[in-house]
Amino acid sequence: MINILYIEDEEDIGSWVTNDLRKRGYDVTWLKDGEHLERYTTNIDIAILDVMLPGLDGFSIGKRIKKEITDIPILMLTARTAVEDKLEGLGFADDYLTKPFHPEELAARIEVLLRRFQKNDKILELKHLKVHMKDLRIIDKNTNEEILLTGKQYYLFQYFIRHLNQILTKEQLYEGVWGETYMEGDKTLMVHIRYLREKLEENPSKPSIIETIRGIGYRVKV
């Protein structure tokens, strides 16, 4: 089970978020301040922090947690919306959500973070594919066979899975996978996407898994 550390001093909001997340199947530890933090950080998968807290503020707590355990995603959940606050938050945190938020959005963002940090061992159903999130094994449900990807194809697919439902521009994909600056007119990415589609899609000429968003880029949507 996924363990969420949630720090919020506001009673109503705290209990509401805790209940909602528990209903969604998460294990939530809700604290009202950052005191005795070290007792709770041992076995957590993700931290959700408010900024305005009594005593130590959320930014300091977040930095402390990051320093201690680097591979924990941190989501700042706060009513502070100033650009400066967002910048400070995103300096160490992995996501920043402002109040008032919709619980669906919070849940979606938690999912994204867990995927990005590979904390999830769920199996993702993607049309006719079953994807094991932990090791990114892909099974074709039609044939029950595993689809094997070559190096770049694997990284490309991994990038899409980490940014599930997100539209990615050509620049983002190229720079995220190849680690180099994208040059206008470079066909490398298109070629690799074509290969990937040939392996994954039932009908590569009408792709349903890797969508093309005209004028922007590509998306893998659940």
Partner: protein, 453 residues
């Protein structure tokens, strides 16, 4: 008094006094020197080097020669020659015959007629050389003897001094004047140097754009100026610090205010969300939806109000950067796409590279502009079900074009606010040196954000 002696005025006065004193002293020294030399010269020579004395003496001695013989005259001439080495002498006897001559260089006749004698006397009177004619003996029957002396022998001693030591004297005076000029030059050059370095210090700025304090080395007028400058810098820094503190307080206040407004808003949302999970009638569900929408609107209004307040006070974070604007817009659109997709919009995106994609703008501001404009389309131009974002290039400008097919801005949307969102767009566009243009009609709105080339 101590202050006075440290002042530049005192130093300059000192230089002037020194100069005057030196010139006076030098003249005095020269005077004494000249006097000493003159005395020396006069001492070393016969002090009777005077026209009158010589003339007198020549006449007296000539008168004393009785019954002049050649030997006597010769003797007389030699005695004089001994005394006046520059002299030339000759004797014309009573018959007008040139009998004896000593060192005579000019042409003189051997026989002297009375006419020639008269002419000679006339010629030599007051002329060169100085000539004395005296009759020999008391009875004046032995003819006359003539003494010739070049007039330069009679030049005053100072003249001779100048002839001999003139160069030395001029050089000495020149040296003293040059010394004065050099000292004055150095004095003013030092002042100039310090003034220039002061000016330099006034124009240089440190990392926070403040002038820096300078080291005060002397306690004169410039030193005092430097001290005053340092005090000014200190005050400037203090006031800047105060201003920053106030700015921080103001930002904090606004941030806290917005935080405090959002917290109850979040609670409202949490309650409506919980309520939504209960069994409700259609009417109940509808009013719940309406509360939810109001929460969203309220959130937006708070955000806009906060941004507007900060923008009006020029306290909104603003940092210009060179960014690839087409790429940036594309990434902004990527995050907006799902919202339009959910509403069933037809989405057209044509982003082509400009001749230069590098715009010097604040990316946060640009995304804020795009957010506000797209949000407006979602809220007020929903009926058109269409949104397009394009690039446009002409010879004068590059532009980002956002189009919808809503009912236009004149149409009163039920969700229309006070237009704070567009005011923010307007302020931000202008601040970043861009121009925007709205063309709104019944069939839709086109907004162009232009950057002129």
């Amino acid at each position: 008094m101590k202050k006075f002696f440290q002042s530049l005025l005192a130093k300059y006065m000192l230089i002037i006094f020194m100069a005057l004193f030196l010139i006076q002293i030098s003249f005095l020294v020269i005077g004494l020197f000249v006097l000493g030399l003159a005395e020396n010269i006069e001492d070393s020579k016969d002090n009777s080097r005077d026209y009158g004395v010589i003339e007198e003496k020549w006449h007296t001695e000539a008168a004393q020669i009785e019954d002049a013989s050649i030997d006597q005259i010769k003797q007389h001439f030699e005695k004089w020659k001994h005394e006046y080495s520059e002299a030339s002498m000759f004797w014309v006897n009573e018959s007008g015959i040139l009998t004896e001559a000593l060192d005579v260089t000019e042409e003189i006749p051997t026989e002297w007629t009375s006419a020639f004698t008269a002419k000679f006397i006339k010629d030599r009177y007051g002329g060169e050389p100085f000539t004395v004619i005296a009759f020999v003996g008391n009875e004046e029957k032995d003819g006359f003897i003539v003494l010739e002396l070049p007039r330069e022998v009679f030049q005053p001693p100072i003249q001779k001094l100048y002839d001999r030591y003139g160069n030395l004297l001029s050089i000495g005076i020149l040296l003293i004047i040059s010394l004065f000029i050099i000292v004055s030059f150095l004095f003013f050059w030092q002042i100039r140097k310090r003034l220039l370095s002061l000016q330099d210090a006034m124009t240089t700025r440190d990392v926070v754009g403040m002038p820096t304090q300078i080291k005060v080395k002397k306690n004169d007028e410039i030193g005092q100026l430097e001290q005053t400058f340092n005090e000014m810098v200190k005050e400037l820094r203090e006031s800047k610090h105060r201003e920053q503190e106030e700015e921080q307080l103001r930002k904090e206040l606004i941030a806290n205010l917005s935080h405090d407004l959002r917290t109850p808003l979040t609670k409202i949302r949490s309650q409506t969300y919980s309520l939504g999970r209960e069994v409700l009638t259609t009417g109940g569900k509808q009013s719940l939806k309406s509360i939810e929408n109001s929460v969203v609107d309220m959130d937006r209004l708070i955000e806009n109000l906060m941004s507007y307040t900060l923008l009006m006070a020029s306290k909104y974070k603003y940092e210009l950067k060179e960014i690839d604007v087409v790429r940036y817009i594309r990434e902004c659109l990527a995050s907006w796409y799902p919202a339009f997709e959910r509403e069933g919009f037809e989405i057209e995106i044509y982003l082509k590279s400009f001749s230069s994609n590098q715009w010097r703008i604040d990316p946060f501001w640009l995304s804020r502009i795009i957010d506000n404009l797209l949000q407006n389309i979602l809220r007020h131009a929903r009926s058109g079900k269409y949104v397009a974002v394009k690039t446009e290039s002409t010879s004068q400008y590059d532009a980002i074009v956002i189009m919808d097919r809503g009912k236009g801005m004149q149409y009163k949307s039920s969700k229309k606010g006070a237009g704070v969102g567009l005011s923010i767009v307007d302020m931000m566009v202008q601040e970043m040196d861009l121009v925007w243009e709205i063309d709104s009609g019944k069939n839709g709105t086109t907004i162009k954000i232009k950057k002129f080339k």
